[in-house]
Symmetry: C2
Subunit: 451 residues, 2 copies
């Protein structure tokens, strides 16, 4: 990093304080604030940052930003190296450890900041990831593969197929587990897709991302990746799960079933929440994987993977809202769409104004399935007239699947068969834990649905 | 209720047990289960119910269902009256109490079960509500008005206008507060719409619903309605809020700002959750309203309501997902749509494949706004290339509004002006608490967005 970059990174008050202390980007500095002391490498900030904070990368690998209150003192500890993101040489592999493949598809966990513009670019390779988190060498023998390098909003059904096929190839080669590094925006869509595509798994497949990139303060990249590798290497389960922070603290990583987890916050580290289910396991700071349920598919190296990697591109999600124009349903039906996932309201409703268009679509052989925009809870289309009318029209209720998982399942179902009845049958079959069992507490909730 | 209906209501084991005890629907019965005793009127169940539960309406007004375990004993206490849903004579009005209007629009809170089919019908009138919950007479002088009688999935912009105008009319007549009984499916869309349409309010406007109808076990209709009337009569605030259960218990009703609350469960009583905000107040079992913030608009009978009841019908919500076909955006632009609310991913992204269609729509004078399907959290379209590219194309980021509120706001904005720049200005202006203030904790979250 040259002097210009260093200057552009800090400005105003922060630059003054750092200049007075004789500190430049790359130096090791100590920040003393009341009874706390932070020590680490001074790292640059983006052009658009404020001038009130100083950011260091600590020995632990975590970054922290400290606000320059009047009581904050800064000392230069030493002329440091600048933070490096190039791949360091791989540490020696320990032969007794499980063999894991980390596949990189892009996203924040595989990204670095462009210090010039302040923007995050999807650039770091899987082997870089490994280099940045040397702890991995004590957990597993890690191979890395760059499969894709794209923001996750650009991922499509074709990529799901490609990822599933690559996983199958690695399993054939005899790995003990897989980690897929993925952008968080559409990570749960991919996790759901892999859950349907990879059946009868012998080993765990862990999808992991980061909400904050690895060279930024409070990055979750390292902890998430460590948790994911731990789960891939030692998890007793053989399912597709998402590994992300359980809370905003760095203490636990939860493993949620790929069909039952949703990104519920734009930026928080604990954005990934189970929906109509619970995490199946948790990793903590020790090497243990704590299973939180007994209802999971067991790891079994003799199991023969069944690969069903095809997804239909002729499926659309249509979200209902007040004032919704039903002719969008006609438009899709005319365009040879084979499946429509309606995102309805409440227990499973759309306006009566939509009935004609739905009837028309169904009569043309389109599967019209419905999930609730509430996200949580189960459909019950028998409570109100509207639900009953929709059932009569042939709408398929998606139980307690939230819309995104229901959409992915519909794409997968229509990638398996063109037979309408068979497709409907598959849609109603629990393939990968996408339906939760109906619960019936003794009192209070004695009836279904709206009760 | 005739004998046939009574017979059809219970069957199998439940009917046997009830017959042996000499109990018929309408009788007062006592159910003894271990150390608990429940007493109340035996009420009917739907045809589709199981034969393992008995449901009574207790003196408190709440219904409870008890499972017929072997240790359950049932006694007939007295020949009771059958549960009545016809309007009883109104109790005498107490002149010293605040004057409240309950407007009914339909939905579960204003519904009753058709015992024959088991379906819930939207039928009960506002005065019936009052009759069913006699406690209201001690809280306020209540007038009732049936404004609409429809399932809330059929509510459109025209109805929002009608409701806003009716509220304005009642305010003109000098009421101390208003309650709008509404179906829960689209209740928060209506609450958001009224928040924008009713400006400079002198009194509270409370939108209330029920997740479980008033003649079913564990109905929340009575407690929600009592909470709503309490808030309308005694709340020190003058805003549009939604009054619903805070938890699954009947102890507290929270009042959430109409722009900041979302139905997040298909059936639970505590389905209505604040999004990117906190409840502004809480009612408990006593008559107090506990304000939870100092940042609210004060009740002020001298304030002159500003009514802005128009909403554009030329606005569409388009949800993005993997495999999304951008030509839907072209289709809307061709149909003379004036505003599109894109439901993007993460911090504010859609696939690069959509850029052409967005550019085309913007060039035709369509306002393309964006909110995140994460629901929680704030957009930051400056972190990644995709966000920056979308901003350059003219996409308007909706801060921390979740998609449904952002959609309603766009409909309202385009109902106010046809001038593009004025509309964009309004969209970016905080009108009714729809934006939360940016928070900047001292450490950890020092940068914007993805940090």
């Amino acid at each position: 990093m040259n002097q210009d970059e260093s200057k552009s990174a800090y400005r105003g008050r922060a630059l003054n304080v750092l200049t007075q202390a004789g500190c430049e980007v790359g130096d090791i500095i100590r920040i003393i604030k009341e009874d706390k002391t932070y020590e680490g490498i001074l790292i640059p900030r983006s052009e658009s940052s404020d001038d009130k904070h100083v950011v260091i990368k600590m020995k632990s690998g975590y970054n922290i930003g400290v606000r320059l209150e009047p009581n904050v003192k800064i000392e230069k500890v030493g002329k440091g190296i600048k933070p490096a993101f190039a791949s360091p040489p791989l540490p020696p592999q320990k032969e007794e450890l499980p063999k894991i493949v980390i596949m990189s598809t892009g996203g924040t966990i595989a990204s670095r900041v462009d210090y010039r513009t302040g923007a995050v670019r999807s650039a770091i390779s899987a082997s870089d990831l490994y280099g940045v988190v040397p702890e991995l060498a004590d957990l597993a023998r890690v191979d890395t593969q760059i499969l894709l390098s794209t923001y996750s909003e650009n991922i499509t059904q074709k990529h799901w197929t490609q990822i599933a096929q690559a996983v199958a190839e690695h399993i054939k080669q005899g790995v003990n587990g897989l980690v897929i590094a993925h952008g968080t925006d559409t990570m749960t869509y991919t996790a759901a897709a892999l859950s349907f595509a990879l059946q009868n798994l012998p080993v765990p497949v862990i999808v992991v991302g980061a909400q904050r990139s690895s060279d930024r303060p409070s990055s979750d990249a390292a902890t998430n990746l460590i948790g994911a590798v731990k789960a891939a290497a030692y998890g007793p389960f053989a399912e597709v799960v998402v590994a992300m922070h359980e809370t905003i603290a760095d203490t636990t990583i939860t493993l949620n079933r790929g069909t039952k987890v949703r990104k519920c916050h734009t930026s928080r580290r604990d954005a990934f929440k189970p929906v109509n289910g619970s995490p199946i396991a948790r990793t903590t700071s020790d090497k243990e994987i704590t299973m939180l349920t007994t209802d999971y598919r067991k790891r079994d190296s003799s199991a023969k993977l069944v690969l069903k990697p095809n997804f239909s591109e002729k499926v659309a999600l249509v979200k209902f809202y007040p004032g919704f124009d039903p002719s969008i349903i006609d438009w899709y039906a005319e365009r040879d769409i084979k499946g429509i996932l309606l995102e309805g309201t409440g227990l499973g409703h759309v306006s009566a104004r939509c009935f004609g268009a739905i009837e028309n679509a169904v009569s043309q052989g389109v599967i019209v399935a419905l999930a609730s925009q509430c996200i949580w809870g189960r459909l019950n289309m028998n409570v109100y007239d509207t639900g009953r009318d929709l059932l009569k029209l042939g709408v398929v209720p998606c139980e307690d699947m939230f819309p995104e998982t229901a959409l992915v399942k519909l794409m997968w179902v229509l990638g398996q068969t063109r037979d309408l009845e068979e497709a409907k049958g598959l849609l109603k079959t629990n393939i990968a834990g996408e339906f939760s069992p109906r619960t019936l507490p003794q009192e209070e909730q004695i009836n279904e649905g709206g009760m």
